[in-house]
C-alpha cells in the first residue's frame, strides 16, 4: 500500500518535532527514515501509524485520507523499538494476539490461528520457542517475535522503529540482511527508522534523510551518498574532512592558505579521497603532520593535522601505507582526489 504525507507538522509543547514534511512511499518499497536523535523520524512513523496525531497536514494510505482514522483501522503492523512484547504471554500467544482480538465474525478458528502463528514463527525461525516467555529470549529473538506478531494481522504496511537499535553489532548486521531478504519475499510496504547510516544505506530501497524535523533529502542510497544535496547529508552519511578553500572564477578550487583570489568556499572531502605523499607536488600541495596511525582493519586510518591546526582523517590502503612508511610526527603532503561543494553554502 502506498503512503503519502502532505505538509505534516507536529509540536510537542514548544518543540517543533516535525516541520512541514511531505513525501510519498511507493507500494512494496522498503524505505529508511534516517536522522540523528531528535530529528523527528520516530514521530513521523508514529503519525503514519496513528499513535500520534499531526497538528496539521494529511496522511494518505493508498489514496485514502486516514488522518483522523483510529490506528486499529489502518491495517498497519508496528514493531516497537523495545519490542513491547506482552510479557505475560508466551511467544505463541504474543503472535496470536492480533488474531484473537478480532471481532467474532472475522476471527479465524483455533486451528487456523495455530497454523498461521506456527507458519509465522517458522518464517522468523523461532518455532521451537513457541511456549517460551519473552523474558526467556535473547534480544535478537525478541525482535523477530515482535516482527512475527506485527505480520500476523496481514498488515499492508509494516513500520519498524529503530528495529536493530538495542542489539549488539554482530546480531544487528545479521538481522538487517535477514530483514532485507524477508522484505524481498513478502513485499509488504515497509518503513524503518534508524540513526545508523550504514544500516539505512545497506537495507533500504530509498532513504529519507531528516534533520531537525524537516526532510533534507530523499533518494536511493547511491543518490544520497554520492550526490548529497546539503552539507548536513554529506556529513551525516560518513566521516568528512572540511577544508576552507577558495574557488576561482574558473571553477578551480585552491586549497593553499595564502591564496587570495576567488571566493571562500567550504569543501567536503571523504577520508578515502585524500592522498598522501612524502614530497610536495601539484597533486599533493598541503603539508600536514601525522598524529596517529591505526592499521587495524581493511583500510589504514591516518589522523593528521594541517598547517592551520585543522584535524584531518585519511584512509589509505595497506599497500600505500607500507610504501609510505608513515610514522608519528612525520611531515607529509596531502592532496584531494575528489571533493564536494555546495551552492549557497554560507552558514559557516
Amino acid at each position: 500500500m502506498s503512503i503519502e504525507l502532505i505538509h505534516v507538522s507536529k509540536k510537542f509543547g514548544s518543540f517543533l518535532a516535525v516541520d512541514d514534511v511531505s513525501f510519498s512511499i511507493q507500494r512494496g518499497e522498503l524505505l529508511a527514515l534516517l536522522g540523528p536523535s531528535g530529528s523527528g523520524k520516530t514521530t513521523i512513523l508514529r503519525i503514519i501509524a496513528g499513535l500520534e496525531k499531526a497538528d496539521s497536514g494529511t496522511v494518505m494510505l493508498e489514496g485514502r485520507d486516514v488522518t483522523e482514522e483510529d490506528p486499529r483501522d489502518r491495517g498497519i503492523g508496528f514493531v516497537f523499538q523495545h519490542y513491547a512484547l506482552f510479557r505475560h504471554l508466551t511467544v505463541f500467544e504474543n503472535v496470536a494476539f492480533g488474531l484473537r482480538v478480532k471481532p467474532r465474525s472475522e476471527r479465524p478458528s483455533e486451528s487456523e490461528i495455530k497454523k498461521t502463528v506456527m507458519d509465522l514463527l517458522s518464517l522468523v525461525q523461532l518455532d521451537f520457542l513457541a511456549d517460551h516467555y519473552p523474558m526467556q529470549l535473547s534480544g535478537g529473538q525478541r525482535q523477530r517475535v515482535a516482527l512475527a506478531r506485527a505480520l500476523a494481522i496481514r498488515p499492508s504496511i509494516l513500520l519498524l522503529d529503530e528495529p536493530f537499535g538495542s542489539l549488539d553489532a554482530r546480531v544487528r548486521k545479521e538481522l538487517r540482511r535477514w530483514l532485507r531478504k524477508l522484505h524481498d519475499e513478502i513485499h509488504v510496504t515497509s518503513v524503518f527508522v534508524t540513526h545508523d547510516q550504514e544500516e539505512a544505506l545497506e537495507v533500504s530501497d530509498r532513504v529519507v534523510v531528516m534533520n531537525q524535523g524537516h526532510v533534507e533529502q530523499i533518494g536511493t542510497p547511491e543518490e544520497v551518498y554520492f550526490s548529497p544535496k546539503t552539507p548536513f547529508v554529506f556529513q551525516f552519511l560518513g566521516d568528512v574532512n572540511l577544508f576552507h578553500a577558495r574557488e576561482l572564477s574558473s571553477g578551480e578550487i585552491v586549497f593553499l592558505p595564502n591564496e587570495s583570489r576567488g571566493i571562500e568556499k567550504r569543501v567536503f572531502v571523504r577520508p578515502n579521497q585524500i592522498s598522501i605523499a612524502l614530497k610536495v607536488s601539484k597533486e599533493n600541495p598541503i603539508s600536514a603532520k601525522v598524529l596517529y596511525v591505526n592499521t587495524a582493519g581493511p583500510m589504514v586510518k591516518v589522523e593528521l593535522i594541517d598547517g592551520q591546526n585543522n584535524p584531518l582523517l585519511a584512509m589509505i590502503t595497506v599497500e600505500e601505507y607500507q610504501q609510505l612508511q608513515l610514522k608519528k610526527d612525520m611531515t607529509v603532503f596531502i592532496g584531494v582526489k575528489s571533493h564536494h561543494t555546495f551552492e549557497d553554502d554560507t552558514d559557516f
Partner: protein
Amino acid sequence: MLKSYRKIFIKRYLVRLFRLSVILTALCFMLLFLIFPLVVVFYNSFKEGVSVYANNIIRKDTIDAVILTLKILLIVVPLNTLFGIACAWYVTRYSFRGKRLLLTLLDLPFTVSPVVAGTVFVLLFSVNGLLGSLIEKWNIQIIFAFPGMVLATLFVTFPFVARELIPIMEEQGQEMEEAGRMLGANGLQILLKITLPNIRWALFYGIILCSARSIGEFGAVSVVSGHIRGKTITVPLEVEILYNEYNLTGAFCVASLLCFIGIITMILRKWIENKDPLIKYREGSRYGD
C-alpha cells in the same frame, strides 16, 4: 609496618563491633515493639482457656461487629479498587496540569489524622452541618450510621490500590498497550488482556492492604460511628468498648482476630512476591539484552 597492620586490625574490629550493635538494636526493637505485643495479645486471649476464648468470639456483640466490619469491607474495597485502577491509569497514561498536585493529594489520607477526617465528615453531614439541610430533606442518616462509616473508611483507604499500581504502571510504560492497539484491540480488550494481567499481583497486593486497613480502621470510624451497640460497632470499636468496660480478656480475644488478619496479610504478601512469574523470570532475562 607492624603498627599499620595493627591499626587495620583494630579498625576492622571496630567496624564489626559497630555492625553487630546495629543488628542487635534492630532485633531488640523488633522484639519489644512487634513480637512482644503479639505474644501478649495471644497469651491474654487464651490464658483462661479455649472455651472462654470461643465464648468471647461467638458473643452476639462480637458477631455483630464482625458482620458490620465485613459489610463495610465489601463496599469499600471494590469501590477503591475501581478508583485505584482509574487513578493509576489516568496518572501514568496522560500528562496534564496539576498531576503533581493530584499525586500529593492522593497521600492526604496517609498524612492527615483519621480523627480529622472523621470530624470533617461529621461537620459536613450531621444535621447541623454544611450539608445538613439536604440530609434532612432527603431524610437520610449519614453520621452515626452505616453510610457515614463507609464514607470514613473509603476516605482512609483510597490511596492503597493506586499507590501500589502507579509505580509499576509507570515502569511498564504504555508500549505494550500501543502494541495492542496496533494489533487491533479495542480499549476494553487492552485493559483486560494487556494492562490488568501485567499489574495483577500489584493490584492484588493493593487490595489486600486496602482490606487490612479497612478492617482495622479506628480513628475516623470512631468519630462518625456514635458507638451504638449492635448497630455501629466495628471490630476495633468493640475492642475499645470491652477495654473500657474492664473486660480485658474479652478485649484481647477480639483483638486477636485483628492480629490474625494482620498475620494473614503478611503471609499473603510473601506468597505474592514468590508467585509473580515476572519477578521469577526477571533474573533469567539478563542474558537477553
